[in-house]
Subunit: 314 residues, 6 copies
């Protein structure tokens, strides 16, 4: 069976693809990806895939749109080369936060991406911690959504953190953080943005819940510039929190994010490697937990026809 | 133009359809709906619809599945009778809460409904207060989602309620209630279900935020048996809340819901008529605000090609 | 191979599903089906189906629309749980008689059902005695239509009935009854509804053909209230028929059907169990022949890749 | 409006297209149709059709497959030339009798044709007297099925035929003839093919019903070689019928059909012009009624948005 | 595995199908193809195909449209008989030259054919030497395009032809001939049609490149009447060419093609058997090379999951 | 009518969009396009488009993939905002040269783009000078392909160039250049790449045809680095050409293209503005002809329902 399972990587996150292959004890299959002088992406699959179950690892990290089009082209090449199935392995799902029409005349880009992936030939998607669970419903093909929470949970158990409160950085994150808090058996607090009294545009953070004297873990699915997490830290300290941690799945870390955390009083920002985090960003305050084992195991179970949900139930 | 616009009603909520027609000063178009002795639904459209823009009003109230199949059959009859477009007017959207896979091997039934509606011939959907905004993305056709919040807000402004706190009945409702609180410019509190200390199965309600001495409005999108809202009321009273109101869009009110509220200390439960609320349920503590004007105006604007979002921006 | 074949049952006709499993010597696979308090159906598949060929047994019996939506939801859950194929086993096909537009502006509901089943994820359908054979053409997936006629034929051969005439209850049934008569090698008679001479609305039954002194078998695909069959019996007796039998595939038996037959002079009404016929309806004049063996054998042959049509050719 | 309505004709039945245009007082729009030396059909639309509602008249007469491919190519050309809608006007529907799987491993070619027409770009179909009404359900677009029965009925009323019986040439035609008999308010008889007593292969015709001393009208949807109708005539004469007429919608008249009827004792064979009937076949015993007015009126009503079914209800 | 692979032939080119089967050491699977008296094609598959991978050999030769519709019907019958996959083996692709809109309001018939084949149920296509390589992109399923050039090349190597120039019969063939010339390592010349100086309609052939004293091979994908190749020969002789050969993949040879070549000074016209070339056309100047081995080998590799492109790379 | 026609521009080529609007005397409609810090593109349509015919101008210039995803998102936003139709105006079509599978296991990216555009909601495409005319057939929606040749032809007529030969830079361009040569009534020459005698990898240019003493116009659809055109110039000079011009539709001009032409002996490189050519690239040897009038006129004719092909026929 193994010789019918092939794993490819786009240029977005090759090291994760490599780690997944290592877990599965499979070689990474070869493809050529380049740009012509007119900026057109060119893909050539470099081994026979006829009747193979192909997995393409491509996370959605900058340059985001280049990565997406590259992925679509890889899929078209695999389809035309007679692959039996094409599974998109996208640990950080593209345009995950553009999942609703909360303003007039905007797109629901995450749904558009689901449609484009299906048009390009996807038979299945494996991803992790979607910004909203409803995004699974944007697809008419099976989606296996893995969870980073057990990985994060194991970390905090290991460092022996006590007297903990889980903090949702805004009301929209309350439900996600509620599940994390359940897992750790700790209480929940929520930061709430309110408009100032005399001013419509400025917003101030109000804490709902109690963090006084506690170790706080700010929990979120994605961090980019880190600006709002730093604001949350400030509010937590003003309300008496002891040590403050961040636990985040997708660590985009753009702009001055790394500098911001280095200079902050955060104890540790605990990320996963769903997107690449280069050496220079791996400062001592930033811990990166690997999810390659989880993705590798999911691929193994898909191939064997055994249950993936059993991975996440105790 | 007016003679090309036709409004039909299934058997789910004819009085709302009638009110919408009254707002638009149009007659309700005629169809025959019956069940054969073998329990098969039969539909006959009783007027010419060739090249007409047809709107079918059908809310998702018990018997839910009968209403859905009836709607699909009406749409098939309209399509085969050469209607130019078919707009589904479903104020309370079917299976709105089955919008994600939060357990293994369950359906995402709201997405399934979106697919079935499109297969049956829907060109567009008008609805109100979806359980999750992402459900709009389940469709590949335009969806106009109306909001009841301005109607609720106007009510509480009119009765002159002061010193208010908006209460989310659980973490998953935090974001929705946050928007409502923003609109009223009041603070937010959240009820959080936690597992008991020694026991995995029992859950207790913890209040996050401050309600002491305040008038509380519990805000939600849907109420069925009312059980959890009564629990929330209890927790609010235990935390010193003064008067307690409920503000809910879709008032299913099944089981002993009405008795429960009649016997409770709730000041008022303020619902809308997105689903039918019969006379016997309209006890003095239950106020029903009409959304017919909003739906009628949306239909008018769709017909005229003017903006619907402008209805909801101040 | 056997461990990749799973048979599920909706709530419509679990005993038939059980009998089919018994024939195949397989356990019935488990799912949970319930209704929430807001009348929404909830389904949870309770075993791993990854890469399995799943068969869902759901006949179209009252409550018809509940059964259909339940079936669609089961299929969505199976698809999202990565079933390899989903075969709908619907012995009595939904809305089978709504197969044409014989009035203006009605639906072709049987086609609509075919479309909805395909949208919900059907890879194949197994059914029995469609009201019109053309319904197979409503699908773009394989449909295996089984026939009850050999089961009926064997019954009448076994009881040694002689000097038989097959009777079509109306002109629309002539062709179906012609095939049945061919199989038994007996002549055919047809009951024809005509408008009265002076009156447009009343209709009287005229017999076409000869039944005098013969044993008559009225043949039909479906019986619901039984009213028209009782009228046919009357006309046959007036024309000199001896013993009168009914042979019908789908025995809906609603309203006063059972009482009507009990009090009639029918010798026997011979049905099959494509729909459930509860104990209280199984009076002595009503015989129920099992089709479980036929469905079980069809599933076995689909799984083995052997011919189903060979089942029906002598 | 009129300048947006264009009527084209394939090479199958240009004279009907011309007659329809005359009724509508419109010129026939121009296209070039030829075959290259490699037998490939080439089509060029010779006038601007941008944003036009185009109707393509193409009946399904020999060479059948050439006519179909020509029609598909015309439709592709119209679509790519930006026609707003394409209505297929196919008075005699292609492969109408291949509408079911009454043998193992055959096609349902009429459904295939429906699919191919939709793929090639059909927005709507107008046809007449489908072999089975269920064929309408093979489409997911509106189908307007016109009826020749009123035209036939008017003919027999005009010639003052009395004491009439309508005869179905086989059991499968019983329902169609039943409707015709209803319209004329006359009784029904049916010819039934039975296997001979000692011989499995030969079949003999048995008359069901009474024709003695009556004028018989054999009613059918299609006549090709005429062989079976001549057999029916023989059986009717043997049973004492007086004058015998044929009333048929689609007069294919292939092989020796014309000679057969010329030499027979048929009073008149009354056809319509849904397929071309050349001068040399129009012998005195063959009457051809025009349906151009009906098709023209249907097109007019589609264009105006008025009811077509009203054409057929008294 | 072998018992799951079935090869069928339409009526277009049964001898090629036979040769392919011989190469694969498989029997040709059986189907019945006939025309009813009304010119409707009827197909019956005469062996069980449940879960089989079916290949249907049907080249596009006159009568072209009959062959296409026959192919569509075979595919529908296979799909409804539960074939697992259907591969169309069309050595000469239908309407290959109608691949672009080089005049206003014409069809792109080759794309239409691709769409119709996919609608009728094609899972894959195998073909040879498409008129334009872009036609592969008309499909959303895998297309394996085989090449005749190695077969032609081997022929000319075998006869030891020296001092060769490859000649493109017009500018549109330059690229195809360029590839052929590359393979043979010979120079290229091109015939170019120009309008006469004083006359817009007449065209004269100008030679671009040098053929003086050389052996010329006119290379093309298809030959029908042969008229333009004879003109090219004349121009080549006028420019001093020695021996002249034709090398063409698809030898339609219609009209007086055979006579034309017999009477010409062509040395040899080397064709392949992608379309049938009957004995009477196989005059001494016409050589027919078999491609059955290539098609057989491609089918074998598809079945085994090994590379087809490796067949064409040295 | 005018108030239903809206023209939007992505960020790829706003000045062309502006020029088109100026031609049509319409304001450019407003949208907001930005990138979030995580590199996700965000689009907001800033005016009501309900029931409007929207045209989105987006040429395919670097950054190519960003421009494509931006376009898809604009289309999704327009669809969800209830636009009546969405026409993509893409003067230089994306991935136009990836139009065939001329190597094993590569994509046909131009077809993929056609599929993605249709999935994202395109009702129609307007483009110019596709690399291969077959690309029009990649779509199942109308494509209007405009031609730059008349614009180029007018230029060379205006400068009074005499004694001209049109030069195809390689065999694959022969047909395109043939049409251009026809239009100018001049002869054709072709540059042909051949492998060197002793070396498989190096290629040398051979001229086919005669350029001695003539003014040569090298004609092509796209120029990027300009390297191969400079090689062609060299070969032309070696063969005695007088003045050398380049005539190209899509002037990508990447790398050192501008410097290369500045330092070459080219008389003039005549481009169009299908892609933006910034001021610094507009050196004296580079002439840029505007196609805005042609695109504007095409949009006007689409809106009016008049012929576009008439624009290109004399």
């Amino acid at each position: 069976m193994r010789n019918r399972l092939k794993i490819f990587s786009g240029t977005a996150h090759p090291s994760l693809a490599k780690d997944i292959c290592d877990y599965l004890d499979l070689p990474l299959s070869k493809l050529q990806s380049q740009k012509f002088s007119n900026d057109n992406t060119f893909i050539k699959i470099e081994e026979n895939v006829r009747q193979c179950d192909c997995f393409v690892v491509q996370s959605s990290c900058p340059p985001v749109n280049d990565g997406l089009i590259e992925l679509f082209i890889i899929m078209d090449a695999l389809m035309r080369a007679s692959a039996r199935s094409i599974t998109v392995v996208m640990p950080y799902f593209a345009y995950s936060r553009s999942d609703k029409k909360d303003q007039p005349r905007i797109a629901i880009t995450a749904k558009l991406m689901a449609n484009l992936l299906q048009t390009a030939g996807a038979s299945r998607v494996i991803t992790m911690d979607l910004h909203a669970e409803q995004i699974q419903g944007f697809f008419d093909i099976p989606v296996d959504q893995l969870q980073a929470a057990p990985v994060h949970g194991a970390y905090f158990k290991e460092i022996g953190l006590k007297d903990v409160v889980a903090v949702a950085p805004d009301a929209g994150s309350a439900k996600r953080t509620r599940l994390f808090a359940h897992q750790l058996r700790v209480p929940l607090a929520i930061l709430d943005k309110r408009r100032g009294d005399n001013d419509d545009t400025s917003e101030v953070l109000h804490l709902i819940g109690d963090v006084d004297g506690k170790n706080a873990i700010i929990y979120d699915d994605e961090i980019s510039t880190g600006g709002s997490m730093l604001n949350v830290m400030e509010a937590l300290q003003a309300n008496g929190a002891r040590k403050i941690y961040g636990a985040v799945t997708h660590g985009i870390l753009c702009g001055n994010a790394v500098e911001g955390f280095r200079d902050s009083s955060i104890e540790a920002l605990v990320l996963t490697d769903t997107v690449p985090i280069p050496e220079e960003k791996r400062i001592s305050k930033i811990r990166v937990l690997s999810v390659a084992r989880l993705f590798g195991e999911a691929i193994r179970r898909i191939n064997d026809g055994t249950s993936i949900s059993a991975l996440f139930t105790l």
